[in-house]
Structure formats: C-alpha cells, structure tokens
Amino acid sequence: MTAECHTEPQANAANGSEGARARSDLRVVLVGRPNSGKSSLYNTLTGGNAHVGNYPGVTVDILEAEVALEGGRTATVCDLPGFYSLAATVDADTDEGIARRFLDAPHDGPRLVTQVIDATQLGLGLTLTKELLGRGDALQLVVTQNDLLEADERRLDAAALETALGVPVCLVTGRDRAARTRVLAALASHPLTGTAAGSWEPKALARSVIRSMERGAPGSGLLGPSRRQRATAALDRLLLHPLLGPVLFVGIMTLIFAAVFLVADPASDAVNWMMGLLGKLITRTLGNGLLASFLVDGVLGGAGTVLAFMPQIVILTVAMELLDATGYLARGAFLVDRVLRFMGLSGRSFLPLLMGHACAVPAISATRIIRDPKERLTTILVLPLMTCSARIPTYALVVSTFFSDRGALFRAALFVGLYFAGLLAGLLASLALRRTATKGRGLPLVLEMPSYRTPQPLLVAKKGYQAAKRFLRDVGTTILAVSAVLWVLLNVPVPGRGSPSDPVIERSVAAAVGQGLEPITRPAGFDWRMNVALVGSFGARELMVGTMGVILGVEDADNNTTTLAQKIRDAKKPDGSPQYTMRTGLSLLAFFVLACQCMSTVAAIRRETKSLRWPAFVLAYTYGVAYLASVLVYQLAGAFGIA
C-alpha cells in the first residue's frame, strides 16, 4: 500500500451541502517539523504552483495555492515554515515565531491545520501534535515516509493511532501519485472540529502503534536504527570523519564552484557566438544607422551579453538544491560550526551563508532558521559579501579578458579563489560585528541531522528552471531598460562640451558623469567608462557587464563580431597604451567582491530587520571597504610591477 487514509470520505461533507463549508473557503495550513516531508507534500498537493499569500499580522511570505476538492469545492493550501515547537519561541522573526503568529492570527472561514509527520520519527512528531491539539484547532495528520518504514518491515497501525489521538490520520509515501487524491479526499471529509489533547505520552504512543510486519508485536519496530539510518550512518562515517570529512567538504565546495566556470564556459561562448551572428544579421539588414546601433550596441551589447551568463547561474542553483535535498547541508553545518563559532556565528548560519552564493535575497529570508537574534542579524549583515550568482558575469568577464592566455585550470582556480575571498570577507566582517555592533551572548548550536535522501529530479529541475526564468525576466526588463537608457545617454551630447570633431560618446551625458567621478576613482584605476558602468550597476551588479558592453559597443560600432573581452583588451588611451590591464581587472574584482550592488538585497535587509539603519549600514560599510580594497589592490599591483 502506498497511500492509505484511515478515515473514509464522508459523502455529505464531500458534496458540499453543509453551509459552513461553502465553496472555496477551506484553508488548509500545512505544519510540521523540518525535514518531515512537508514541502514534498505541498508540491504533491499543489503541483508546485504557488503564490505569496497576504496575511494580516504576518509580514513574511507564506506560499499558498488553490486546489480543487471533491464536489467542485476548492481549498487554499498554505505552507508554513518547518518548526519544532510553538511554545519554545525565542525570536518572533524566526520560523517558530512566524508559524505561531500565523496560527494565532484571526482567520475567516473554516481552517484545517494539517500536520505532516515522518513515520520513521513518529515519537518526535507526536510531541508537536500534542502542542497543536492543545490549541483547539481542527487537526489532520498526514504521516509520510511510510515506504521507508515498510522497507524496514515495520508497519504503522493508523487505526490505532487515530483512535488514540481522536484525529484523522492519512498515510502516504513520498513519490506516489495516488497520495494526492487520498490526502485531498481526507481533507475534504474532515469534520473540522477540534479535539482535546488526551493523556497520552508521545514516545509511548509511537511505540504502541508501530509494529513489526513479521511478528505484529507493538513496539518491536522501534528497536534499532532503520535501514535508511544505517545507510546514513555508513555515509556519515566517511563524510563526517574528523580528518577526511573537512577535506571532502572543501573538495565538494571547490568542485561546485569550479564546475560553474568550467562546465558553463563553453555554453557562454556559444551564446556569445550567437549574439555576434545576430548582430551581423541586424547590420546587414538595417545598415549602420541609429536603429541598427541601438539594437546591436544597446540591446545585444547590453542585455544580450548578460544572457551569456545564464548557464553559470542555473548550474549553481541546481548544485545548491542538490546539496540541500540530499541532506548534506546539515553535515556541512556540523563540520564548519567550530570555525563559524570562532567568527561569532554557528553551524546554523551555514545554510544561509551557502545559499547566499546563489542569491542573497532568499538567503536573508533563510536566516529565520537561526534562533539567536544577534547571530541572525550578524548573518544578515554579512550575507551581501557572499559571492552571489550576479557577480559571476563580471568575474567571468574579467577572468576571460585579462587571463585568457592562462590555462582553463588556472582560470577555474582564480574563480574559486574569488568565491573564497567573499567568504573570508564575510567571516572577518562577522568577527568585527560580533565584537561591536552585534555583540552579546549567543545561543549554542542544536541542529537536526536528517537522514540522507535521493533528491527528486523534478523538484531540482524546477529550481533550475525558476532561476533561469528569473534571470531571463531580469534581462528582459531591468537590464534591457538600463541598456537602452544608457545607449541614449551615450549618444546625446552635452551642449558646449568638447569640440564638435570629438566623437559623440566623449561629449555625451554619460561621459560627463563618469569623468566627474574620475578624481575619486582614479587611485583605483577606474576611468570614466568604468565609472559609468559602476553607477549603472549600483542597483544590480549584473548590469556592469551589459553597461560595459553598451559603452564599448557604441565606441566600436563598426565591429559587431568582436567579443566584449576583446574590446576591453583593445581599448587604448590617447597615447596608444592599453586602457585596461590586469591591474585594472584585479582592482575591479576587489571592488566587486565587497560592494553591495544590489537593491533587492538592501530591500530584503530592510524587511527582515524592520529598520532603515541596518540596510544603510550595509551600504556604507561594503562600499567603503570595497573602495579602499580596490585602491589598495591597484596601488600594490603597481608597486609589484603588474602591468
């Protein structure tokens, strides 16, 4: 049996004849401990479709989706963050606090709290059940991972559990399609009345309802670890080995970040090649007029150039999702806890910090798993320093421009080095913050170590697809708009500026702004073009590459096939010497490692800290340090004779 709901659907409830349960007004609230299979069930029930709900008193995003029930009715399924307890809440902004606020908030219409429990950890799940029953909500239990229990020749007696609790119980497996129908039928047929918490004790009840398939004896199923736990223990002996574990951890991280560069590099070349072909086609069709220049230099040179970096972003997102889905992230937290503790954080900060390597915005939301308010704030403040995927385009451009004569392995190592530079900067910032702005006693680490699991390919693919879609949307909207505006600013001269015989771009509005900033940025080796690109990428760092693409495309309008890297290498000063050298590239990298050029991140910090002070602080300290670092790198590179 793969899906079993003990209580049979009630005909009169299913046909929607009861006034209180009128159409489309049942709210199903999914709750459960972390790693209980709640998100999988949510995806099973809703097909992964979700939008962000708006609930009074709940200021964070709660995913919800509409599903059809029997009899033409619909239900709204809400996915709350995983939590262990509603009573043990330290900070109202953590996952426990958010769940508690949601459940306490007034609601109109019938509501059914549906608790998801991992069958292999029934006793732990029932502890939360007892808390939920004490609240008086209508409760439905959905017990997942039943297949794993059966693989160990153990069986959950759902009828006995239902009788003991007085709550309907539904058994499902993780990947069974029939589970959806059965669970929805159970939800539709629920009487929607609360049940008083009885005098049962969670662990004793769990022992009494899990039976050995062979002997049928209660309690025998709880003796000894399950098959999955034995497999997990074997893997942990390797992956958490005191010496080998950290080495493998660094190896896995290095492999992921190197793969981002090595695997995606040919894909990026292919996109660049296609953009070149498209540019030639446009020029051949439209000639060399203003419209062709706008399309080739503005649209293709800006948005098109950035498009070439989509493969890296997708690969990184998929890698992060795989690590999370397998259960390895918790192992990473275990391994790095000691190092993070030295920096004033703990293993719980590891997940948001690692997620920050894909994108800081969801990572800032993920800090809600950190129960210690000061540790959580510190993690939020250093997250903008993690090497998010939006930095990849600039890193890749600088590496391929100034290090193209080096081997692929050297360039991959440099790429990995940039990731570690961001991490190191974050840890040093944390060390400083915990001794100043966020000092105070912290809560020690308690972290669940889930069993290893095989990731569900569809869910992982979906994450990759969502990342690609988000990136394409950015390219198609913000980046395209900025590229177009910049093209205009580069082609509109400031009246009375320069001589009419000078190229228009050197008399343009954009050039005037960039040149105005040169006295400040010259010590870092940035000229007016880079200044324009830096101003253009203040709101979103990925705009840097597109902006440089537009500037150099407008300057070199006759050449539509040369890549941006080649155009940067070919750029000359008035005296004929190269405008940009490896020294400029290193300085630019130092700036990009440290500066928080992302307004979405700033908005997320504002939302999570509920203050303007902390986002302003992040902007000030990251830009200040970025400027000083780029000046230092540029000057030191000059002192050491790097061209």
């Binding site: 732990l124 275990f334 000691r338 170590m449």
Partner: protein
C-alpha cells in the same frame, strides 16, 4: 552523579538525567526531543571542540554544541 554528555565516549548509549540550562535553552532542547529520561547514543564529535552528533531513541539525530553537552547530566541507560 554521572558524567556530563560531553565526556561520554563515542558509541556509548546513556540516559539524560538532568538538563542544567536556562529555562529557555532547556525548552528548546525539549522541543527537538532532548529531555530528562531520553536515551541518547553518542555518534561522533567534530574536530577541535566542535559539536557532538547524537541519536535519540526515536531515531532523531542532532548536532549539539559542546557547551550545551557539558550541561546535560547523564546516567547509565540500563
């Protein structure tokens, strides 16, 4: 009085006798399933004073900071 959890050798199974922490920390440990009377098996210790990896009788596995483990009094599980 038995040893505190941080001194229990790897592979040994013990019973939690008392959790000598602040009410807040005790409540949090209780929420994840570590309470007086719970039987724990020490699976491993992270290097350089890092956390301990323990398994509860119900099959839940947790990493616990060494400082917390030092405040968990234990006794023989038998």
């Amino acid at each position: 009085m038995g040893a505190c959890l941080d001194n229990v050798p790897v592979g040994h199974t013990i019973r939690v006798r008392a959790v000598l922490l602040t009410p807040e920390e005790r409540e949090w440990l209780g929420a994840v399933g570590i309470v007086a009377g719970e039987v724990l098996t020490v699976l491993r210790r992270a290097a350089l004073g890092g956390p301990m990896h323990v398994r509860t009788e119900d099959g839940g596995e947790f990493a616990i900071a060494r400082s917390l483990a030092a405040a968990i009094e234990t006794e023989s599980a038998t």
